[in-house]
């Protein structure tokens, strides 16, 4: 699976390569490993500012568009470095805070003539919340977790969720087994709709606010049956209107 990952200033680079910097010329040995090996399996696209994606089974691209030294290959292997997930989340959050704060300071130095509202995520409290959040789906007992950090847009996220819950793969837990067509969680046209719980504990429809604002306020996700989300307007009809819903 190849996904486009966007971080930072909205630039996206499509660079596919597997030039992981391994010491001692052992690349060939590593490349010959079993199917579960993280190296050299599938390509994942990212920009120089990518953070480690701990839960993914994809080997990351190491090329950097900024021309600086290549990102550490330690951050591109699943479960490596061996830091507990609790600590890793804290680390990722801190790094995001730092860069959000740096960006905020950099912005302050710029003279801004036009009156376009700045990205609220940086203004509000300078803290960006990243990491894994829970996803539950109505009718499925066991939930999943998704790394918001590894997604760049709503479409991206919706695709991942569709893969997680609706792949017609008997080995996948939590699947309903019935749906083979694309789900379209975002446009209100399918049987399910995607909602999230925000920092204040309210359940909101996903998609109303800019992505960056969304990821600072989302605490967890829920794939809800459209019938239960009564009154939530289909997105394409009334994008501004939203209703607060307590899950049953």
């Amino acid at each position: 699976m190849i996904t486009e990952l966007e971080m930072g200033k909205g630039e996206s680079e499509l660079e596919l390569g597997l030039g992981l910097s391994l010491g001692g010329g052992t690349a060939a040995k590593i490349g010959g490993k079993s199917g579960g090996g993280a190296w050299g399996e599938r390509g994942r696209l990212l920009t120089a500012k990518d953070f480690p994606s701990v839960g993914s089974k994809r080997a990351a691209d190491s090329a950097s568009h900024a021309g600086s030294s290549p990102p550490r290959s330690s951050s591109q292997v699943v479960g490596w470095p061996p830091i507990g997930s609790h600590r890793m989340n804290s680390l990722v959050n801190n790094q995001a805070t730092k860069s959000a704060r740096e960006e905020e300071e950099a912005d302050k130095k710029k003279v801004n003539d036009d009156h376009q509202p700045k990205d609220v995520t940086k203004k509000v409290n300078g803290k960006v919340q990243l990491g894994f959040i829970k996803v539950n789906m109505d009718g499925v007992a066991i939930g999943r977790k998704v790394d918001l950090n590894a997604h760049s847009s709503y479409e991206n996220l919706a695709q991942t969720l569709e893969d997680m819950f609706f792949r017609t793969n008997p080995g996948t837990i939590g699947l309903t087994g019935q749906f083979t067509k694309p789900l379209r969680l975002l446009d209100g046209s399918s049987e399910f709709v995607l909602t999230y719980e925000d920092k204040e504990g309210d359940w909101m429809l996903v998609g109303d606010v800019p992505w960056r604002m969304f990821i600072t306020s989302v605490k967890r996700l829920r794939v809800m049956k459209t019938s239960e989300a009564n009154g939530l307007a289909a997105r394409h009809q009334e994008p501004k209107e939203r209703q607060r819903n307590q899950p049953a």
Binding site: S21, L22, G23, G24, T26, K29, I30, G32, K33, S34, G35, G36, G37, A38, K49, D50, F51, P52, V54, G55, S68, S69, P71, R72, S73, S74, S75, V77, V78, G79, W80, P81, P82, I83, G84, S85, H86, R87, S90, L91, N94, Q95, K98, K134, I142, R144, K145, N169, P170, G171, T172, I173, G201
Partner: protein, 575 residues
């Protein structure tokens, strides 16, 4: 001893507290086995699937304290799918049904639900102590049941769990009559905290010795809390951001000075570095300091704090302290026994990171050092040889060079000789984690010298099956072996099946073991649970079998007396 009445023998056994020793006692003769089992109060089960609640209760009907561990260690790094197992519910149900007088429950890497916590809180009148480490599956509602129903609660210790925070009312569930708290640790909770309820709880808990707050507790609340608990021994600071001239800060300074019993400090989950100086007056008493979550505190402030901590025995810190900072630690903390240095920056070079020089400095300055966990960017054989010479007393040595397969950065050689020196010199080494570029040679050394080694973690190391064989044949006391991304296959796996009976578990992921190899192992050893964890599709694995030459993604095997577990999810295939 056989001429003494049972009560006398039992009284003697009361002085034997370690699990190993009690297990040994029970093997001496039938009479001792019987006396031991009726008098055993604390039971430790390192793998919850090695036995079951029924057998536990049959053998130890008088048990008061139970420790259970669930998922394998690599679950900490997201290598084990969430639904794998490790449910505590059946244990609590069985214990509740049996009316055993449970007082203490300690769980690690298990799935705990609100239902389990509710049942626990209602079933044991004398329940006193709950310690949950790296567990998941519950919410603050579960904590509310514990608070409300456990009348004699002494310890509620939540370490690095994933808890769904339904926002803060669980603290108000402690009744006004609850005054017995000794330990309260909720640092891992992410949500808001009811500060009023917390302050009243602390104020009515005169025995409270250990208090670890979450990030929702601000500085002014901390000042008030410390004022009403000057007997505090172990403090975890939550949020630590404030204007240093404000009244709250002055109050905090005054409160800190009164806490003359304070020995352990941690937290600083959100910290403004310039306020650390408030703690300087009590630093000379500190034996334990954990600043590993305090990412905002720069090296210089850390160093200023540490310079006051002459009695420090345990230090957990971020690598932002740098080699220079570690030199200060080496010259100041002569009593240091345990050091952990965690990475603060995973992306980009990090010029404040630590290198082999910091490690050498510590080994030279701290003669009592016996446990180390060290994340660094680079290492050399020469440094490791020096460390081994300086510190032959290591019990735990865990080195993590961040870049996999990285050789000695000076000679470009593998790090075999360095680690070899460590295992040769450290005769009491019980736990070892390897990293960097390593060939089969390092395993030859480990098999030859690491006689006391119980736990070994291997990643991206070795060349052939010989490596793993050296370890399996040589390390007689091996209990837990975990291997990832290394070229070990069926030959090594199957060479000595009886070895696994002496071990708790073996984990192998992204190695060269095949399905047929695992099947053969399962056939030879019916007393093992051989689990294949394959998140893609186990059924497809079988179809495309080609006589099972397919490589196995994740293999986890462990000895058990109760056979295949019934609660495995579909992607776990127990052969």
């Amino acid at each position: 001893m056989n001429y003494f009445p049972d009560e006398v023998v039992e009284h003697v056994f009361d002085f034997v507290t370690s699990h190993k020793d009690r297990n040994a006692i029970s093997l001496v003769c039938k009479s001792w086995y019987k006396i031991e089992r009726y008098s055993r109060q604390k039971v430790f089960i390192g793998n919850c699937y090695a036995t079951n609640p029924e057998r536990l209760l049959r053998r130890f009907p008088c048990l008061k304290s139970l420790t259970l561990k669930g998922k394998p260690h690599f679950a900490d790094f997201n290598l084990v799918p969430h639904e794998w197992g490790g449910f505590v519910q059946p244990w609590i149900e069985a214990l509740a049904r049996s009316r055993v007088g449970l007082e203490e429950l300690r769980l690690k890497r298990m799935v705990v639900t609100d239902e389990s916590l509710e049942l626990l809180s209602r079933s044991f009148v004398n329940f006193k102590s709950l310690v949950l480490v790296s567990c998941e599956g519950f919410t603050t509602d579960g904590l509310a049941s514990i608070a409300a129903n456990c009348r004699h609660l002494r310890d509620l210790d939540l370490q690095e769990n994933e808890i769904d925070d339904h926002r803060g009312q669980w603290l108000s569930c402690f009744p006004d009559t609850c005054t017995t708290l000794v330990t309260l640790n909720f640092a891992c909770l992410e949500g808001e905290t009811n500060l009023v309820a917390l302050e009243r709880l602390v104020a009515r808990s005169p025995n409270l010795k250990s208090l670890k707050l979450n990030r929702a507790v601000p500085l002014d609340a901390l000042a008030r809390l410390m004022s009403c608990a000057p007997q505090m021994v172990d403090l975890g600071v939550g949020s630590y951001e404030n204007d240093p001239d404000s009244e709250s800060y002055l109050k905090l300074q005054a409160a800190i000075k009164k806490c003359t019993s304070l020995r352990s400090l941690s937290g600083f989950l959100e910290a403004a570095p310039h306020c650390l100086s408030a703690f300087h007056p009590i630093c000379h008493n500190l034996t334990s300091l954990n600043l590993s979550y305090a990412a905002e505190i720069h090296g210089s402030h850390l160093i200023k704090l540490i310079q006051h901590c002459k009695k420090l025995q345990r230090l957990w810190i971020l690598d932002s302290i740098g080699d220079k900072g570690l030199e200060v630690v080496a010259s100041t903390c002569k009593e240091l026994q345990e050091l952990r240095v965690f990475p603060s920056d995973l992306v980009g070079g990090g010029n404040t990171a630590v290198t082999e020089e910091g490690l050498v400095a510590i080994s030279a300055g701290c003669p009592k050092l016996h446990s180390i966990l060290y994340f660094c960017q680079q290492m050399t054989n020469a440094a490791l040889v020096t460390v081994a010479k300086n510190c032959p007393n290591f019990i735990r040595f865990r080195l993590c060079i961040l870049e996999p397969n990285k050789p000695d950065h000076v000679t470009s050689q593998p790090l075999d000789e360095g680690f070899g020196a460590i295992v040769k010199a450290c005769k009491n080494l019980r736990r070892l984690s390897l990293s960097g570029l390593l060939t089969d040679q390092v395993f030859l050394y480990i098999g030859m010298y690491a006689n006391q080694l119980e736990m070994l973690s291997i990643a991206f190391a070795g060349d052939t099956d010989k490596g793993m064989l050296y370890v399996l044949n040589g390390c007689k006391k091996m209990k837990k072996l975990e291997i990832r991304d290394s070229p070990f296959g069926d030959t090594a796996l199957l060479a000595d099946v009886s070895k696994y009976e002496t071990m708790r578990s073996l984990w192998m992921s992204s190695c060269e073991v095949t399905l047929s190899g695992c099947k053969r192992l399962a056939e030879k050893a019916p007393w093992l649970n051989v689990e294949i964890i394959n998140e893609t599709d186990n059924n497809r694995m079988e179809e495309n079998g080609h006589e099972g030459r397919q490589k196995v993604d994740k293999l986890y095997l462990y000895r058990t007396v109760v056979g295949t577990r019934m609660d495995a999810p579909p992607f776990v295939w127990i052969l």
